[in-house]
Symmetry: C2
Subunit: 408 residues, 2 copies
């Protein structure tokens, strides 16, 4: 048996596992120091009460023969949840029929699994910096990657290059384009005009856009798009992934959704028209069996008026943390992006320090954990990500420690 | 963008989706007829009370900041559950450390995703008949398949061929071998001696065995192995997948586990030794984020003494159904396998009918749904699968209808 040797070319450790190991070592050496974690983007506020009640009610249904549920017929998600997601899209001006939505166990799974439906010869465009899963899940299939620089010059929101991208000395155009807005890690948000430009570019080059909207709930400014489908023409070129992880504290509950519009079609080599949704449904039909019923009921509760009100309180709590971090950066005259329409603050390491060295410095000197920008790409080597998902008091305390470290 | 054209070579519909459509059409035409479903292997008994309580308790924990849990550190499953599974293995004589176990959202997902870590050039051996996911998830990657006949001559338990298998006129040996015991669809169970033979064969040909033990809980005879790891040498050649779907009624709750032993190693083309567990953990680290916390607590409860007692009542309920079906077959002198150590009964269609025709006949004449053997491979074209997962009264009623259909 031969292994898939593409795996041997990957970084040995996934970014967050490497960070977890560093924390473990530090804590073992300094058991009395209180670490404040602002690294991995994990939430800390409890689930909304209406969500917990819905999950418990569903668990009770499974205890009784008359209301017991086994397999979902399709595995695409129950209609009650797909329709709730469709209504949610409608609430901010994107019209997505329930039939174009598949429920999943979180955006990360679909983000990795979606590429199964594309040929390994496709050229993949990823912004740099980017969420490492986009890169790794394509390297695993041996796909070649090209990078669109997101840096200070464009406010960390890369725009398409009409000259193409460098690959082995040649100029080349992408087949698959990953975009994430609000961006992880930079917090930058694309405007409608910018997304329209990407959509036009994808059409010109017959590319597909994989749009990661996992942080849409953090957008506060009315004019910024929460979904790529708020822009005309997106349905013919874009797949969108979204998640309840950050929106409703579902990092441990696991539920998200992916939209593959029925309008999204391409032509096979024999000239037949192929629907990407049909390929995706076929993939999922064989390799996935749907999301836990009580989890789907919990997710449904998120989209009720009461659920929306309760989760918005949590989001405001994190936004207040983001404000505390942003203000600290402003006061210290540290260049940064994000923090307003995003739970992430992306800042330049003081004295242009290397980001892993700055990680070690913060851990050693003030016991605050962040994420080194280098983990997201070469444009992050002197940048650093902090998340606003922590406890309020801990965030304030971390920023006091941060200030004293730099003013020392 | 180019699609993965291997998808176009797949059967257009996954077996169970095709069956669902036929049922829907029939029900639309005959709204007053009461269909008895013995097709898709879905359970009908409610969850054990201890499982439901555990899930609700976990949901309550997520409602409180102090006990809230977000991401699992590793995504491999919480230690409490991995250790419970390890203890469970120990109870029937297989020693599997918790660190070799990964918790998943059901065997189907892992069964499909596991092949990502193997090169597409591997030759895959599947028994015929077999669970269609083994075939489809390899065709999706363009792998070539060879088939080991499971038929009346070997009691539907194929043994390895030392002469190799036919592929495009050549004799060839497999790199990846799928085995399922108790078998879906035939209900046949491998003995320890038979599995030892497969293990020796895999060693000789440097192949890996993917062992599907999803139905182990239905084994009643003491001497039959519930896990391939009850046989010496298995850890060096076999990965095992198991599930709580049928064991504890988790088809809608979604939880299973996969064992990749640390002893399972191979050599990369550059001569370095590679651990398959490390590759699998790397795959899952990028493409999976763990199972819902309340689901893991529910699964943990299955392995408590109280949980084991409660689920065994359900299993006995299904075993009684299997007895009813088996006795009907015996009385009608219909050749069959399974039904004793398995929830499946695999029988020969009367008058050697084609299995899809027999499916239509049963649906039209007696409104009983089964699964046509043809859906599992060429050796199933005249065979048929019934499941014992139904309601007791409905199973008795279905067998009465079946008898009258054949005695007409």
């Amino acid at each position: 048996m031969k292994i898939n040797e593409n795996y041997l070319k990957l970084e040995k450790n996934y970014l967050f596992i490497r960070i977890a190991e560093k924390i473990k070592d530090f804590q073992a050496k300094h058991p009395d120091r209180k670490i404040i974690r602002m690294g991995i983007g994990d939430v800390t506020q409890p689930l909304a009460p209406v969500v917990v009640e819905a999950m418990k009610k569903a668990a009770d249904e499974l205890a009784v023969k008359e209301t017991f549920r086994g397999y979902e017929d399709s595995g695409a998600g129950y209609d009650f949840l797909r329709e709730a997601v469709s209504e949610y899209y409608h609430s901010f001006g994107a019209e997505i029929p329930a039939s174009d939505i598949r429920i999943n166990d979180g955006a990360k799974s679909d983000c990795g699994n979606l590429v199964d439906i594309f040929d390994d010869s496709n050229i993949v465009l990823v912004t740099d910096p980017a969420y490492p899963v986009y890169v790794d899940s394509n390297l695993m299939n041996g796909r070649q990657l090209i990078y669109a620089d997101s840096d200070e010059s464009n406010g960390f929101a890369a725009m398409p290059s009409n000259d193409g991208y460098d690959l082995n000395g040649e100029k080349i155009f992408p087949d698959i384009i990953y975009l994430c807005s609000p961006n992880n890690p930079t917090g930058a948000v694309y405007t409608k005009e910018q997304l329209a430009e990407w959509i036009a570019y994808a059409k010109t080059h017959q590319a597909v856009i994989l749009f990661d909207a996992a942080y849409e709930a953090f957008i506060q400014e009315e004019n910024l798009p929460r979904s790529i489908y708020q822009i005309d023409g997106a349905k013919e070129v874009a797949i969108e992934m979204c998640s309840l992880s950050k929106t409703a504290g579902f990092t441990g509950v696991r539920c998200g959704y992916t939209v593959v519009p029925s309008e999204l079609k391409t032509t096979a080599s024999d000239g037949t028209e192929v629907s990407l949704a049909q390929l995706w449904n076929r993939r999922e039909g064989s390799k996935f069996n749907g999301v836990s019923y009580p989890v789907q009921r919990a997710a449904e509760a998120v989209f009720t008026p009461e659920g929306q009100q309760q989760i918005k309180e949590n989001i405001r709590y994190y936004q207040e943390n983001a404000r505390v971090i942003s203000e600290t950066m402003q006061e210290l005259h540290i260049p940064f992006t994000g923090g307003i329409n995003s739970p992430y603050i992306w800042f330049k390491c003081p004295n242009n320090m290397d980001s892993w060295s700055f990680f070690d410095k913060m851990l050693e000197e003030i016991a605050v954990v962040g994420t080194p920008g280098a983990g997201f790409g070469k444009n992050g080597v002197n940048w650093f990500r902090l998340t606003a998902f922590g406890d309020k008091d801990a965030t304030i305390e971390a920023m006091q420690r941060f200030r004293s470290m730099l003013e020392k």
